[in-house]
Structure formats: structure tokens, C-alpha cells
Amino acid sequence: MELIISQILNAVMLACTYTLVGIGFSLFFGAMDIVVFCLGDVAIAGAFAIMALSTVMGVYASLSGILPAPISGIIVVFIGACFTAGLVTLMYRAVIVPFEGKNINASLLSTIAAGIVIRELIGLFYPEGRNPHAFPQLLPAGLIGDNVLLSWRNIIIIAITFIMVMLLYWFVNRTKTGLSIQAISQNKEAAIMVGINWHRIIVITFLIGGFLLGIGGFLTASYFNSLRFDMGAMYGLKGFCVAVVGGLGSIYGAIVGGLLIAFVEVFVTAFIPGGTAYSSVAAFLIVVLFILFKPEGILGEKTVEKV
């Protein structure tokens, strides 16, 4: 029984790392009808920024001289997430704007290429970029009581993910800007016609999505205690899978999709003998099956092909 509980906990934690990047995919797809393939790399770049702030550049150390450790941690993470938001907006300008309204294949390829560029730039220019790095422990590591299953860090990761999703929920449903994003995702032309400044809203969407990605990258790196320049490729791909399984364009879908993919991976590893090597295969097969037989995902709306 304890085994099953601990595996469930593993799956939930894994789902937390997938969810925010999945939400990123859904958010941008909802707003612009495009898939930005470099999101995983952007998120990892954000984590690298946070690591640079706390190790190489020494910002964290100098901050914690003045402020208590948790607050300086929050400041560092916040700066890193803002950097990610800037980076993703830059991506929007550089590799998405030139292809607006053209064949989707062009933006698909350009965002994949942008992912490679980000990854390789980190590898080339971050000090010892191609080596794995130990991620600085900004989250407390201790256990809660004597129970080995629950550590402070896991609780905080779940809590941050939850808070982020709630904030996003509040923003999308309760603020004017959020409602504008929804309007654009439902019908771009009509939204423009009722006076929504489309460009402004898109940039805001990218900033918010980028911020979430930065947090996502930070949580992932903290959970694994490590960071490597090429982690972003698989992370982004899994995020896209999560978004598709949950329903591309649906924010809550990303949560459900993240849980599903994470549970499949963990349970194939844990309960099928010799299954470890096949856990990724199983996850991708699930995605292929979803696309073939339920392309709208679990929570997505069924779309009828327009003629």
C-alpha cells in the first residue's frame, strides 16, 4: 500500500512539472492558433537564468545578506521568470510574427529551429554549458516530520503549481485583459471588431505564458536538482503531449493531461516488469492514440473542420 501511495505521489509531482509547460502550449494555441515548439527550451533557459542569478552572478548571495532567505529566493525566481517572459516575447517577434497568416508549417519549423538555437546558445555560452549542473537549492529540502514521503520541497512545488493555475484562472476569467484573451481565442475577427487591441493582448499573453514557463522551468529543475542544456527538448515535447491529451487550448486540460501522462509513465515503470525502458514509449503511444481517436483531447471542444 505504501508503495502505491509513494508511486502516486511520484506521479503527481511529475505531473506538476509537466502542467505549467502544457498550460503554456494551450495558452498560446488558444490565443494565436499556433504551436510554439520551443517552449520547453524557453522554460529551461529560464531555469538557467535563475541558476545564473544565484550562482555565477551572485545576486542571490548578496540579496540574502540583506533579506531573509525565502524572500531573496522569491526575488531571484521572479527575476528569472520575468527574463523568460521577455525571452518568449522575443521569440514571438523573431520567429512567429514573420510567419503570421502564412502556412503553419513555416511557423512550426521556425519555432523548432528557435528551440535548437536557444539550446545551443546555452550550451556554448553558459559557463561549462554542456555539462550537467547541480541546480541551487532555493526550496527547503527537509522532511515533514518523520514521514519520508512528504518533503517540504514537494509540498511547495505542488503549492506553487496550484497557486499559478489559480492565478491564471482568476486572470483569464475575472480581468478584462483575460476576457479579451478568451474573446480572441474564440473568434479573432469578431474580437478585433468589438475594439480589442489584438497586438497588445497577444503580447500580454506571451508575457504571462512566459512567466508561467519560467516558474515551470524553475520547479522542474528544483524537483530534479539538476539542469542540463538539452533537457528542454524532451520537456517541451512532453508539455505539448500533455496539452494535446488534455485538449489543446484548454487550460484545465493541461492539468488533466499532465496527470494522465505522468501516471502512465510512473505506473509503466513501477508495475510492469522490465517496463522502465518503455515508459516514454507508452506515453507517446497514448498521445498518438489520442490524436487518432480523440483529437480534441479530454477537455477540449470538438472542432468541425471548416470548409
Binding site: 508503495l3 509513494s6 549542473h133 518533503s151 530534479f224 536538482n225 538539452d230 515503470t269
Partner: protein, 409 residues
């Protein structure tokens, strides 16, 4: 329709283009023919080239850069010594841990006219890809870091030789230590799906089979680059094993160790071979790394004759990267080639024969090759991680009983 002007323009354009290309082609040829006499007449010494191949970029770049440096260091030292009748030029190539790239690079090396010998590869798959190419070209290759047992074969001798032990040879002393000396019998085995990992899995399984009472209770294969091992570890935790053997590379090993720590499995001994011996392991695993037992063939360079000088020279040469787990191998591989060159001259065949018969004493002890081209040198050291450093078991506080290994009664 097509009279006169446009066609005339095309013709003129084409003419100019072909003229230009002709010049370019001529230049290409010309520089080559100018270079050749320079080399013979300009400098007094003949130039011979030795090529180094290793993963300088890609996922295993850490493992390749240090050896590249030590190899270069050996060549530079030989050139500086002034005892050589020729000048050795050092060429470094990158296989990026990709066999296709490796094969391509090998073709390039083979096509260079003055290359007399090569030393290559950390990845077994890359070596598999280039061995036929070097053998066909008759260029001796000394393998410095690839440990797949199948690489050295009688039919490839003396062209293919290897200064490092195979995975089988590496696992023997470790198994003897942890199973016979420490008495750990019940093992969980995790390995990477890479060539290296598979070879280790097989070697460890064979070692366990040799000993009565020893058993492997779980085997998990993970792909390189995975980051989440908690599901596997949670499963292993239930099995009450005496030790966990990991056959693979640094990053995954470090993550496994730190995640073991998180899941409350600190009391399980972790053991591994030279693939995880790197300061990076300790950096990533952090506090959790304490008490991990590893083995590495050879002795620590600083304990070998000439080792102090080697470390000093390496630091003096100003290399940024540490020489790493395989630095000493590449250093000795280079010196073996240079020694053989000194004695046999620059003929490739004579050089290969000489390398095959060599008995060279260097950082690794005395290296000579058996009839398959495998080194007969089987020195090895057991290390344990203590206070963030790899410490020789015989000098560690664990041996004296001051500290206890994970899971020790």
C-alpha cells in the same frame, strides 16, 4: 523571341561565372601544390600527424575534453623534448558520441596524407564504426576510453589496441570488493540503455552469478537523459536490497543518488565503475554522494611515478577543464604512439607492429598488449566518496571504521 540581348547577357554572365569558378578551383589546387614543398623544404623536420578523436561536444563532452588536453600535452612535451627526428602535429576531431559522425571523421583522418596513427573514442559505438576504416587504411588506432569488450579482436591486431580495460575487467575488482569483502549479496541493478550500460549490466550479472548466495532482485534500464528515477527507486526500496549497482554515466548516476537520498534510501550502498567517476557526480549529487563506492582502473595519477609532474605540467599548460577520469589513458595512449614512432619510424605498418609489441611504463603502470590488442595492465583502485572527494579506500575513514558505509551493520 530570344534574339540578341537576353541570351547575350546570359552568355556573358555564364562566361564570367565559369571564369571565376575556374580561378577558384585553380586557387584550391594551387595552394595545395604550394604547401607541399614548404613542408619539406621550409622546416628542417618532417611533419607527422597524430589524430585524436573523442566526444568534444554533445552529451559526453565532459569525458572527451580532458583527454583531448592530455593528449595534446603529451604531443607538445614530445615536440619540446627535442629528441624526435620529426615534428608531430596534433589533430583533434570530434565524434560527438555519434557513430555516423565518427565514421565521417575517420574517413577524413584516413584521407590526410601524413597521419600515421590515431587514438580514439570514449563511446564504444563510435569505435565500432571507425575500426573497419582505420584497419582498412592500415593506420594504427589506440583506443583510450571505449570499454565495450568486443572492440579488441585478434584479427584487428596490431592495428587496433586499447589502453583502458574492458567493462568486464573493470567490474571484477568492484564485485570482489563489495560482494566478497563487504559481504553485500542482494543487489538492485539499474543501467542505462547505452552500449556502455548494457556491457556493464552483463558484466555485473556475470559477477553475481559466480558467487553463491548473491542475487540480483531487480533490473531496470533507463535511457540516457532521463531525469526522474523516483518510480524505480520507490520500487527498489520495498525490496530491501544490500546495494544498488548503477552502470552508466555521471548525470543519471548523480540524480539516482540524490533521489535515493530524498526517498529515504540513504542506507543503501551505491556502487559503480569508472563511468561515474567525476567531480561532476559529487557536485550534482551533493551531500548524498557520501559513501558511494566506485572503482577505477589504474592508480591515481599523483601516486604513480611521474604523476606529480603530469599534474603540474597540465596545470602549467593552462587548460581550463579538469583532465578527468580518462585523462591519464589518453596521455599514455599518446606516449605509446610517440614511443613507437621514435623506434619504428613513420611507416604505418612498422608503427602498428611496434605498438603491438610495446611495453610502456607511464601513468597507468606498465602497458603491454595481449594478442587481441587489449592491455594486460590490470591495476585498479577502489574509491569511496568522503567529504566531497574521491578517496582511495585504503586511506579512507571508512576503512578505519571511523565512518560507516551506507547499510553497514
Amino acid at each position: 523571341m530570344f534574339k540578341g540581348k537576353p541570351i547575350g547577357k546570359i552568355a556573358a554572365g555564364l562566361g564570367a561565372l565559369i571564369f571565376l569558378l575556374g580561378i577558384l578551383a585553380g586557387c584550391g589546387g594551387g595552394t595545395k601544390s604550394q604547401e607541399a614543398p614548404k613542408q619539406e623544404g621550409g622546416s628542417q623536420k618532417k611533419v607527422v600527424k597524430i589524430a585524436f578523436i573523442g566526444p568534444l561536444t554533445g552529451p559526453n563532452a565532459t569525458e572527451g575534453v580532458g583527454p583531448r588536453n592530455t593528449f595534446e600535452l603529451a604531443v607538445n612535451q614530445a615536440n619540446k623534448s627535442g629528441k624526435l627526428p620529426f615534428e608531430i602535429k596534433f589533430l583533434a576531431y570530434d565524434d560527438a558520441s555519434n557513430p555516423g559522425t565518427a565514421a565521417s571523421v575517420a574517413q577524413k583522418i584516413v584521407a590526410e596524407p601524413d597521419v600515421v596513427a590515431a587514438s580514439g573514442h570514449w563511446n564504444t559505438a563510435c569505435a565500432e564504426a571507425t575500426i573497419p576504416i582505420f584497419k582498412a587504411a592500415g593506420i594504427p588506432m589506440v583506443i583510450w576510453g571505449a570499454i565495450g569488450p568486443s572492440l579488441t579482436k585478434e584479427e584487428n591486431f596490431p592495428y587496433i589496441t586499447r589502453v583502458c580495460p574492458t567493462s568486464v575487467q573493470e567490474n571484477i575488482p568492484l564485485a570482489a570488493f563489495v560482494m566478497d569483502q563487504l559481504g553485500r549479496k542482494k543487489w538492485a541493478l539499474i543501467s542505462s540503455t547505452s552500449v556502455y550500460g548494457k556491457a556493464n549490466t552483463e558484466a555485473w550479472q556475470a559477477e553475481v552469478k559466480k558467487r553463491s548466495g548473491a542475487e540480483i532482485v531487480s533490473l531496470d534500464e533507463i535511457t540516457d537523459g532521463s531525469t526522474d528515477f523516483r518510480p524505480i527507486l520507490s520500487k527498489i526500496k520495498k525490496l530491501n536490497v544490500d546495494g544498488l549497482y548503477y552502470g552508466g554515466n555521471i548525470m543519471e548516476a548523480a540524480l539516482i543518488r540524490s533521489q535515493m537520498n530524498e526517498l529515504g534510501m540513504k542506507d543503501i550502498l551505491m556502487a559503480g565503475i569508472s563511468g561515474i567517476v567525476s567531480p561532476k557526480f559529487i557536485e550534482v549529487a551533493g551531500q548524498a554522494a557520501e559513501g558511494v563506492v566506485v572503482t577505477q582502473p589504474g592508480k591515481e595519477p599523483k601516486k604513480m611515478p611521474g604523476g606529480k609532474e603530469f599534474i603540474e605540467e597540465y596545470q602549467k599548460a593552462g587548460y581550463k577543464e579538469p583532465y578527468g577520469a580518462y585523462g591519464a589513458y589518453a596521455y599514455d595512449a599518446a606516449n605509446i604512439i610517440i614511443t613507437a614512432l621514435k623506434e619504428a619510424g613513420t611507416d604505418r605498418k612498422a608503427l602498428a607492429d611496434k605498438i603491438g609489441k610495446i611495453a610502456y611504463t607511464g601513468l597507468l603502470g606498465t602497458t603491454s598488449f595481449d594478442k587481441t590488442g587489449q592491455t594486460t595492465n590490470s591495476l585498479s583502485t577502489i574509491y569511496v566518496i568522503q567529504d566531497g572527494k574521491f578517496v582511495d579506500w585504503d586511506e579512507s575513514k571508512y576503512k578505519t571504521g571511523e565512518r560507516k558505509l551506507p547499510g553497514a551493520k
